[in-house]
């Protein structure tokens, strides 16, 4: 029976985090787990484990997919000591073309919780590296993963799937980056300690702001948060002088009217000598008077403005995802041809080229005495060599076409034949050499070739 790809797994759509966290593997545990998996499960010839916050998947190759999928589910239940019934309903079981499509879509971040997020490709690469370390990667997984990487790369290049900001706090941080060159020497003031305000402050902190001032109605809470974020706590009835030095102010205080009057703020702006200030209003009702935005060098974004920025990005990404899916389908087609061993054409071309070249070389070596012959005799010698190489070629091609065509074994055979007969030479690389470009001039192509 023929070998094919299968994937058993669950993700953020099919399983709650409470289930995912129990099945997830730590990075270091993956290679040993794969070794155990191979020992316990003879039905499987190749395997890899992809484990992230949002998904746990076993990607494998087996002759009998039904059996392999069942074995994999049992293995993971036993290995993680979780009853199979607890997660069986959340599992997806894919095989053949569906499995390959899934692998490509995951790598290209089309199956992510946030479409286009960039981490997943690194995680898929890690899954491949772990499997390679465990020695459970064979020809099919090797080819499938590398195809997946090149699909992801192509999609990154050809679409805008990874662009823009997709959360309110990230949008606020990105906007700050458009106003200020560097946030390193800036002061951020957090008014009120709402969840989103805290998150935004954390993100700003992560990219390295100089100082953080925190004020809120409950001083104890302020002090605790200041300690957690590494900032300075300021009593709420005494925060106004700090507006003179803050560059970014995040407001999320519970109020019924703006925390500061327009004319009072105008005075502060003058005292700041028109130093730019970015007001992020996360409060509902709003903390800042919207007319402040028209003051000189004041940039005020409220929660709706930020949501609009995010919304635009998400809409953009969804449009781009449609393009990405089309790319996946195209690449899947190519990969599937290879899987079926139907894609012998390049191999055949290479072998033919290589044998013809051998003949040319030999003829060249004997040019001396050949040229002394009568034209008719010379033609007969040439005919003899051509006949010989053609017979040889015919036999090889015949063998390739019949021996396990339409299977990975066929692909194996083709690879072996190519290696034995062509060495490093191939028609494609020879063409490139003729053009003055060595093979691998284009990185993508090389990766695509695997």
């Amino acid at each position: 029976m023929e070998q094919t790809l299968f994937i058993l797994g669950l993700n953020h759509r099919t399983a709650a985090v409470a289930v995912r966290e129990r099945l997830a593997y730590a990075d270091n545990d993956i290679a040993p787990a794969l070794v155990r998996f191979r020992e316990h499960t003879p039905s499987i010839t190749e395997a890899a484990i992809l484990s992230t916050c949002n998904r746990v998947e076993i990607i494998g190759v087996a002759a009998d997919c039904e059996r392999a999928l069942a074995d994999a589910a049992e293995f993971i239940a036993a290995d993680r000591a979780v009853a199979l019934e607890a997660f069986s309903g959340a599992l997806y079981r894919l095989s053949g073309r569906e499995a390959a499509r899934h692998l490509f879509r995951v790598g290209a971040s089309l199956d992510s919780m946030m479409v286009g997020e960039p981490q997943i490709l690194g995680q898929v690469k890690l899954a491949y590296a772990n499997a390679a370390e465990a020695g459970t990667v064979g020809l099919v997984l090797h080819r499938a993963f590398h195809k997946g990487f090149s699909v992801a790369k192509r999609i990154r290049k050809a679409t805008l799937i990874g662009h823009g900001t997709v959360s309110v706090s990230a949008a606020a941080v990105a906007l700050a980056g458009q106003i200020f060159d560097s946030l390193k020497d800036k002061t951020v003031m957090l008014m009120g300690a709402g969840k989103m305000a805290e998150l935004t402050a954390r993100q700003l902190r992560a990219i390295g702001i100089e100082s953080l001032i925190i004020t809120s109605r409950t001083f104890d809470h302020t002090v605790a948060l200041a300690r957690a974020l590494g900032g300075t706590a300021v009593p709420f009835d005494n925060y106004k002088p700090y507006l003179k030095i803050a560059d970014v102010v995040i407001g999320s205080v519970a109020v019924t009217r703006p925390v500061i009057a327009l004319d009072e703020f105008e005075t502060i702006i003058k005292e700041r000598r028109y130093k730019p200030i970015f007001l992020i209003d996360l409060g509902v009702p709003r903390n800042f008077d919207e007319r402040m935005n028209s003051l000189e060098n004041v940039y005020l974004y409220d929660i709706d403005d930020l949501a609009q920025v995010v919304h635009k990005t998400r809409a953009e990404r969804e449009r781009e995802a449609a393009k990405a899916e089309a790319i996946v389908e195209l690449e899947l087609e190519a990969f599937w041809r290879w899987m079926n061993g139907l894609d012998l054409v390049p191999t055949i071309k290479d072998i033919r080229y290589s044998i013809d070249r051998l003949r040319d070389l030999e003829m060249g070596r004997h040019r001396g005495w050949l040229s002394a012959l009568e034209p008719a005799e010379r033609e007969r010698v040439e005919g003899l060599t051509r006949g010989l190489t053609n017979k040889l070629l015919h036999r090889i091609l015949q063998g390739l076409r019949t021996s396990g065509a339409n299977t990975p074994e066929g692909a194996y055979a083709a690879e072996v034949a190519r290696k034995l007969l062509c060495g490093e030479i191939s028609a494609a690389s020879a063409d490139l050499e003729a053009l003055g470009e060595g093979p691998g001039a284009d990185d993508d192509q090389e990766e695509d070739e695997f």
């Binding site: 805008l160 823009g164 458009q178 060159d181 130093k275 060098n297 403005d305 635009k312």
Partner: protein
């Protein structure tokens, strides 16, 4: 006097401006690299043109308004390329390339034929020093005005809640644009000051008096005062950002008006009629 380098220089500049602008509108991320290359190619052709003229004149080729304009275009292209490449300011590329192409185009149209011979009294080491300082100063003001235009465009988008321009490029922040504007103004001002001082010294050596209140001198002084005021307002009351950008453009318009108007209507010594 035509040289064979002028046409290719002009074509390269114009192409550069077109590529910058089309690249921006069509969001082609690679365009700015090609456009910058084109600007550089233009500057190289242009340098050959200036060198040819310089060799013919036996001195720096700035004997009339048209030549001065051509020299200004060249220095602006060079300084602009430094800004674009070193400070990643491709955003101003369109303005710079367009300004350079326009200046060189105008220079070519009004360039009078024939060889202009400099009177012996003006063949002095002060000529290249004075003129280069002045024109380099003006090129700083061209760049400052371009940066200010970009500033105003970005600032109005941010105010209108339409941020995040084309995602494929990294846009400079408002703070960076403002800072660059400030330092360009500072450099321009310093160079203009030096140009006025060296001009005065040269005038004294040639004619025996430092200052003769001829139009270019008077207007240069007026512009010097305007730029001084612009810098002063930033240092004292803190006029920066939008207001500084707007004022930079206003002062630059005055500068262009005087440069063009005075030179064409009442050339005086500076315009090439050395009476």
């Amino acid at each position: 006097m035509e040289t064979l380098w002028l046409a290719p220089a002009l074509v390269c500049y114009a192409l550069s401006a077109a590529i910058f602008i089309v690249g921006r509108v069509a969001r082609i991320s690679r365009a700015s690299g090609w456009a910058t290359l084109m600007l550089g190619a233009g500057a190289v052709f242009h340098a050959f043109d200036l060198a040819t003229r310089g060799l013919q004149a036996g001195n720096i080729p700035v004997t009339n308004f048209a030549q001065a304009l051509s020299f200004l275009a060249w220095l602006t292209a060079l300084a602009g390329m430094i800004l674009i490449v070193r400070l990643q300011m491709a955003a101003i590329g369109g303005y710079i390339a367009a300004a350079v192409a326009l200046a060189l185009g105008a220079s070519t149209i009004i360039m009078k034929g024939g060889r202009i011979v400099l009177p012996a009294t003006l063949q002095s080491v002060w000529l290249p020093i004075h003129v280069t300082l002045a024109i380099l100063g003006y090129s700083m003001f061209v760049l400052a005005a371009s940066v200010s235009l970009v500033y105003l465009a970005y600032e109005s988008r941010l105010k209108a809640k339409r941020p995040l321009g084309p995602p494929s490029e990294r846009l400079p922040s408002l703070e960076k644009l403002d800072r660059i504007n400030y330092s360009l103004l500072g450099w321009g001002f310093a160079l203009l000051s030096l140009a006025i001082v060296t001009g005065a010294i040269w005038a004294d050596a040639t004619w025996g008096h430092f200052w003769s209140w001829e139009p270019v001198e008077s207007w240069s002084l007026a512009i010097w005062i305007l730029y001084a005021g612009l810098l002063e307002s930033r240092l004292t009351v803190g006029w920066r950002g939008r207001r500084a950008a707007a004022l930079t453009i206003v002062v630059f318009v005055v500068l262009v008006g005087s440069f063009v108007g005075v030179s064409l209507i009442y050339p005086g010594k500076h315009g090439g009629s050395f009476g």
